[in-house]
């Protein structure tokens, strides 16, 4: 007996009825009592819409207060019949399905998916091309490391360097914004293609994109702190970024963007931190460098796992680096204004000796970037010789 008391079916009484009917199973009989004035009318609607039979209570049931009896119809658990599990809820590389089924769609991993669900066209549905076990940990680290630009950066700190230094900062910030736009949009374009079954990877990319959005904000804000206009964006720089944009293979894109590009950027940002002429620039460089280091770690984990799963793809990776180099060999590479601005920042003055010092510092930065790329390629399994050659083919635009 389901005792509804004064509860009507318009107030949620149907929940109690459905629980009792499910328990009774198809053909099972459930008596209902209640005092809601519309209960008989409501029960007839409930029975009709759910394809349950409605019967008069037997004399003894009536004595116990039943106003009617419901007999559970066959459609009660129809949605569960033929439903499939969207993989297992807890998953790592060993237990994940090698392909995420198109019919699992947006269902939570491990959910019971009703048969007949629409098919979703997520082209990145192959575990080996998408998954890295480290994604979960890196996502948690990224969450714990989020920072609020308003709080984290001393925007009101004094800026008392000469105008030529501020001009250099504005040019570098202009360049950084352009590159961070690429770092935001390239993963964003893949995000919509990845089957959400690989939840941790989607989460990690999403927070990286949020990181980049913040970077674009702080670089822009720094550029405009003392100036009304930004610096120069060059054809060569944009051509270089366009080749990143056009790479449609997720693994190769990660290699080019995160392992090589963002990897070089980490060195650049630490260089800016070291030579920052004011506390605002210093704080920005430090905070963004930390974020970018996580992106590099994520990229390394992704490419490493993909090349482990398909060692034959190593030659494709090699070709991708070479092709990008060929596509860019007739462009100017790094924006000359940016190069000079970096020299001036490291020089800190306009005397020939200071300029020489600055130039030397930027050359050392470029070497560090190249060594870093080589080291990471070796960690991905490339031979030292191959890694050295490939590290040298990376775009002169750094990203």
């Amino acid at each position: 007996m389901v005792e509804l008391g004064a509860l009507g079916l318009e107030q949620g009484g149907h929940i109690l009825l459905l629980r009792a009917l499910r328990e009774a199973g198809e053909g099972g009989r459930v008596c209902v009592s209640g005092t809601h004035p519309d209960l008989p009318l409501q029960l007839s609607v409930f029975a009709r819409e759910g394809a349950h039979q409605i019967e008069s209570p037997a004399p003894d049931e009536r004595k116990e207060g039943a106003v009617c009896a419901l007999v559970a119809g066959s459609s009660l658990n129809a949605r569960q019949r033929g439903a499939v599990r969207a993989g297992s809820a807890r998953a790592d590389h060993r237990t994940l399905h090698s392909y995420a089924d198109a019919r699992w769609g947006l269902a939570a991993r491990g959910a019971l998916v009703e048969a007949g669900a629409p098919s979703w066209d997520f082209s990145l549905n192959d575990r080996d091309l998408v998954w890295a076990d480290e994604a979960k940990k890196l996502y948690a680290q990224a969450l714990a490391s989020q920072w609020d630009p308003e709080e984290a950066i001393p925007w009101n700190a004094p800026i008392d360097h000469p105008p030529f230094v501020e001009d250099a900062i504005v040019q570098v910030m202009t360049y950084l914004v352009e590159n961070e736009n690429a770092a935001l949009l390239v993963p964003a374009r893949f995000l919509g293609r990845i089957h959400p079954h690989f939840r941790e990877v989607v989460q990690l990319l999403a927070i990286q994109i949020a990181d980049e959005a913040r970077h674009v904000e702080v670089f822009t804000r720094r550029a405009l702190l003392r100036r009304d206009a930004l610096g120069l964006s060059t054809v060569g720089g944009q051509r270089s970024l366009q080749t990143l944009f056009e790479e449609s293979d997720f693994v190769l894109s990660t290699l080019l963007l995160s392992v090589l590009g963002e990897g070089s950027f980490v060195d650049l940002l630490w260089f800016l931190h070291e030579h920052a002429p004011d506390p605002v620039t210093g704080a920005i460089a430090q905070l963004t460098a930390r974020d970018e280091s996580r992106h590099v770690a994520a990229g390394m984990a992704h490419v490493h796992a993909a090349l482990e799963a398909r060692p034959e793809d190593r030659s494709r990776a090699q070709r991708a680096i070479e092709q990008r180099h060929l596509a860019l060999q007739h462009t100017s590479g790094l924006n000359a204004e940016v190069f000079d601005a970096l020299v001036l920042l490291a020089a800190g003055g306009l005397s020939p000796a200071a300029i020489a010092r600055g130039f030397d510092a930027v050359q050392r930065l470029q070497s560090r970037m190249r060594e870093g790329r080589q080291r990471r390629l070796e960690r991905l399994g490339f031979t030292a010789d191959d890694a050295s050659i490939l590290a040298g083919l990376h775009t002169r635009n750094f990203m």
Partner: protein, 289 residues
């Protein structure tokens, strides 16, 4: 133009955009099961009934009022209309007459001289049948009370529930004293937030009646055996089958039932009493003559 006689053609009224989704889905489902099928849409039931008799289609998906229109038009031509199938949810509906919780109206007699909100004038459930209930219980709605129509999409026979919703909103706003709605909407309007739980009270409930059916008329030129195949396939539809469940959900049923006509008796009494379809029928029979 020569008509394509190779397919069974169904007529349906486009009371909502989902009608296209429904019948496109059924079309595919029937064709996959070797029933050549097509459908035509009408903007209103009157045109659909006329279309059935003109041979524009073979089976009408009719409202209860359209069923009676077809039945009576058939009789005037010495033909016979038949209801061949209906949804399980078309059987044993009721309508309710609602008042505000704190209303002084406690009996039908109390509605004398009051404003009674109904749906579209051609809605069996929201207008015609509740008015019959009042009339048969001592209150002539047209003489003893003020009937306030909420005419949303006339010609759709109340399939669009907008008229009922407007009536309930007017009742809540205090511009009318009672509102007539289908039993399912008494629940539905509370669940969707139109009405706060407990704000309205059910004053009276009509006797049970049936709703839509698939109607045919003898002497049609449907492809041989296609009507039998149509009903056979309908009755085979199983709500557990994921291929057909979305269509059944859209049409709002769990199973198809053989058509029955006894429960159209209250509506037949009502249209006789209120002469609801008399002008239409007269115009049709004069045209035919």
């Amino acid at each position: 133009m020569k008509r394509d006689r190779s397919k069974l053609v169904l007529g349906a009224v486009a009371y909502d955009a989902k009608v296209v989704t429904i019948w496109d889905g059924f079309l595919r489902w029937f064709e996959e099961r070797s029933l050549p099928f097509d459908y035509v849409l009408y903007t209103n039931y009157e045109r659909q009934v006329e279309g059935l008799f003109l041979g524009e289609h073979h089976v009408s998906w009719n409202s209860p009022l359209a069923w009676l229109q077809a039945e009576r038009l058939a009789a005037s031509e010495r033909r016979v209309a038949r209801a061949i199938a209906m949804r399980d949810t078309d059987q044993d509906l009721r309508s309710a007459i609602l008042v505000r919780k704190d209303s002084a109206v406690n009996t039908i007699a109390d509605l004398r001289d009051k404003r009674i909100g109904v749906g579209a004038w051609d809605s069996p459930q929201a207008t015609i049948l509740p008015m019959l209930h009042l009339a048969e219980n001592g209150l002539d709605p047209e003489r003893d009370a003020k009937i306030v129509h909420h005419d949303v999409l006339v010609g759709k026979h109340g399939d669009h529930i907008g008229g009922e919703r407007d009536a309930v909103k007017a009742l809540l706003a205090g511009t009318i004293d009672a509102a007539c709605v289908l039993d399912a909407n008494v629940l539905g309007f509370t669940r969707d937030g139109t009405v706060a739980s407990g704000a309205l009270r059910t004053l009276a409930v009509t006797e049970p009646f049936d709703h839509c059916n698939f109607t045919i008329v003898d002497g049609d030129d449907a492809p041989a055996g296609s009507i039998a195949k149509f009903t056979e396939l309908l009755f085979s539809q199983d709500y557990s089958d994921p291929a057909v469940r979305p269509l059944m959900d859209l049409e709002g049923l769990k199973a198809w039932k053989p058509g029955r006509v006894e429960r159209y008796a209250p509506l037949a009494r009502a249209i006789d009493r209120f002469r609801t379809i008399e002008p239409w029928l007269k115009a049709r029979t004069e045209t035919t003559a």
